[in-house]
Symmetry: C2
Subunit: 433 residues, 2 copies
């Protein structure tokens, strides 16, 4: 370069001009962040097919940053090893152990890209400066210093980052908890101000209802963060609520799609006017909860606070809470908890019942929560009535009701869950034309 300069000013300016053009083009390139989940990289053949997909985007002129989860069941296999040693592994050592899974994936994907002639480089979470708080196994991302990623993008490379992991201020390896790779993708897309964040998974997108239950369920081409949040928390296992919240906060558009097809998936983005015309976007059923009812609780101020403080202290996640009208100074208090936490709840309920001087407690794990979700509800009335009517017409009794601005949930007998979903899907006209 220096010798070129000494050859005369003309050449120098010429080169400067070229450099300008190159930088201009580079900055003009659209940046896409892609996240591939465990099923998309379950074995080396799938890794090769992911590499081919990335190469296609690269050829179309995109800059590509890729976030990868651990291969298929790797994380479970590592946890199984830990389980053979102890039933209470320390969180720090668990993070040390399971963070290796993603490191294997990124290295293999880089090799697969090299093999087909695409320049690529892999990094661990700590290497690209994903700094988290000090919590282990479910750390929060504090910041990402994206310089290293940007430097590699400017070299024309595909940058591959291990999902799910980071490093705290003490240089300890941390992991981000369930759905952590989604979170890595969204956080990196935010930091890099990416044009799109694609989440590749083994489903083709978000549907109006579970296609295994409702035959004519339709793939949604677009859905709002808020609706997706409700669907996620209601049991649609497409993406973790936490990642969606971050995406919403920073307005990162997400494209949920399958790595096994070339079909467009579902775009999750800000609410747009057109969405409001759709009354209901989707119907879900969650069969994973149980109902706890504390009977005849003395209706005094502070009782509910006492009960739910005790429950929270035992790390039990309460979902719906319903308190019936007080009769003669006594009330019934019902709430739902994940079935997996029911035994833990039972252990403490008798003590709570005694301490608040209630009459007793009743459990029911034969329930399902069916919900309808849609931003259109905000501006339309009569949606709840239509829902209750549809359930009534199928003679399905409603046990509990809870509503939010864009959601209505009803607890019913688990036996009728599928029937209810089909009825609601039909009542709101969600099926394929």
């Amino acid at each position: 370069m220096l010798s070129g300069y000494s050859n005369g000013n003309f050449k120098y300016f010429n080169r400067l001009f070229l450099a300008y053009v190159v930088i201009f083009i580079d900055m003009g390139k659209r940046l896409i962040v892609q996240k591939y989940g465990g099923s998309s990289v379950a074995n080396t053949d799938r890794i090769k097919s992911v590499a081919n997909r990335i190469a296609k985007y690269k050829k179309q002129g995109y800059n590509v940053v890729v976030i990868v989860s651990a291969l298929g069941d790797t994380t479970d296999e590592l946890l199984e090893l830990a389980g053979q040693i102890t039933d209470k592994p320390s969180d720090r050592e668990l993070d040390m152990l399971i963070s290796t899974g993603e490191q294997v994936s990124v290295a293999l994907l880089a090799m697969a890209l090299h093999k087909i002639g695409v320049d690529a480089i892999s990094f661990t979470g700590p290497q690209v400066g994903i700094i988290t708080d000090r919590t282990h196994t479910k750390a929060k991302i504090l910041k990402i210093s994206a310089d290293r990623i940007k430097g590699q993008i400017n070299k024309g490379r595909v940058v591959i980052v291990a999902g799910f992991q980071g490093m705290n201020a003490d240089q300890e390896i941390t992991t981000l908890g369930r759905g952590g790779s989604d979170l890595t993708a969204v956080a990196i897309a935010t930091t890099l101000n990416a044009d799109m964040c694609e989440i590749y998974t083994d489903v083709e997108g978000v549907y109006t209802a579970d296609p295994r239950i409702v035959k004519d369920a339709k793939k949604l081409s677009v859905i709002s963060y808020e609706e997706m949040l409700e669907l996620a928390s209601l049991g649609a296992q497409v993406m973790q609520a936490r990642s969606m919240e971050v995406a919403k906060k920073y307005s990162v558009s997400l494209h949920i799609r399958s790595s096994f097809t070339n079909e467009e998936g579902t775009i999750i983005s800000k609410e747009v006017k057109a969405m409001e015309d759709v009354l209901v976007s989707g119907v879900t059923a969650n069969k994973g909860e149980a109902k706890v009812t504390i009977c005849d609780v003395p209706d005094r101020p502070g009782i509910a606070a006492k009960i739910f403080t005790d429950i929270a202290r035992h790390d039990i996640n309460v979902d719906m809470i319903i308190q019936n009208i007080s009769r003669k100074g006594y009330t019934d208090l019902s709430f739902t908890v994940p079935v997996a936490e029911l035994n833990k709840a039972k252990d403490m309920m008798s003590k709570i019942v005694r301490s608040v001087k209630a009459k007793g407690v009743v459990y029911n794990n034969e329930i399902a929560k069916v919900s309808i979700v849609g931003v259109g509800m905000k501006t339309h009335s009569g949606v709840a009535a239509k829902m209750f009517g549809a359930l009534a017409s199928k003679k399905i009794n409603i046990d509990m009701i809870s509503t939010s601005e864009i959601k209505i949930s009803c607890v019913i007998n688990k036996r009728y869950a599928d029937k209810a979903v089909i009825a609601l899907h039909k009542a709101f006209g969600l099926g394929k034309k």
Copy 2:
């Protein structure tokens, strides 16, 4: 602590005194570095048994730093995955991939120690500041900043470090090549000025000869670095030559022993006077080499240099080199190469033969190199004569001879290798009493 101080000077001094005593005791503890190879941590049961061994040392009052290799065949399995993707993986990505193996081991071992109530913490190579050069897959350690390890030792913890790996100045993960975990152990023992470095493996120590060949082979209780170096390069697969050289340079005593028994193994240390009284310490045979003979090479200055420069350029490791007496301006030049590199050598020999105007080339992979090693040779004469005599008495013909200060090697027909080892072992009186 501060409140204690405000309570009066007496308490303050009292505490200071206690702190002094504690530090004194801690500094007085002997520090032991232990390295466990892949077979010692092949599965979770073995990891538990390693944890028990460490606990025993800890209970005896030692400070313990542990270096661990990857579980059993993990490294091979990771290489197999890479092989499914490409036959030429980049060295950087290979390091990214295979360094995960040791990370899994250290986490599991820490869990196993916690389980039995021993305070322990695991680290990757980069985390404890093992800084290497920029070479990938066979990096050299440049320095170790041991502060983090020392800090944890002072907290009373067993410190577990992933062997085989480090980080270069660009924060790229590097690995140290074959035997890299031994090297990590020796380097850490040097840095921490450890009292002993134990290398746990699946053999019980260093023997006078391979016990599978020589029935009455004896375990050596002590051997010098120099002898062990010769034995290592001659095919005794106990420890890599490179680690031994570092140990020798910094006078780190090594204890090679088995993790499957409680037997003492073999101490490798500086040469001591008593060793010189032993004429020969061990006999080895290496069947992994082949002989290449270039016939009738014009005997001009610079010819040998030309030939071996060409060979080195193709990364072929030449071991013995013998040039016979020149007859009428022509000489025969023989050398040995690893059998695995013979085909590569063949590919280039015809060109070399043409370029030096030799008559031809002959290959022989039916050879074995038998050697005797011992520091006693330095001060005793007649050792070579005794060796040749022992071989002659068994009618074994000697093809090539090469000697160093503490070693004599003879190339013979592979068929007689075991017979030769047995004869030499007996001739030098190495057997059990």
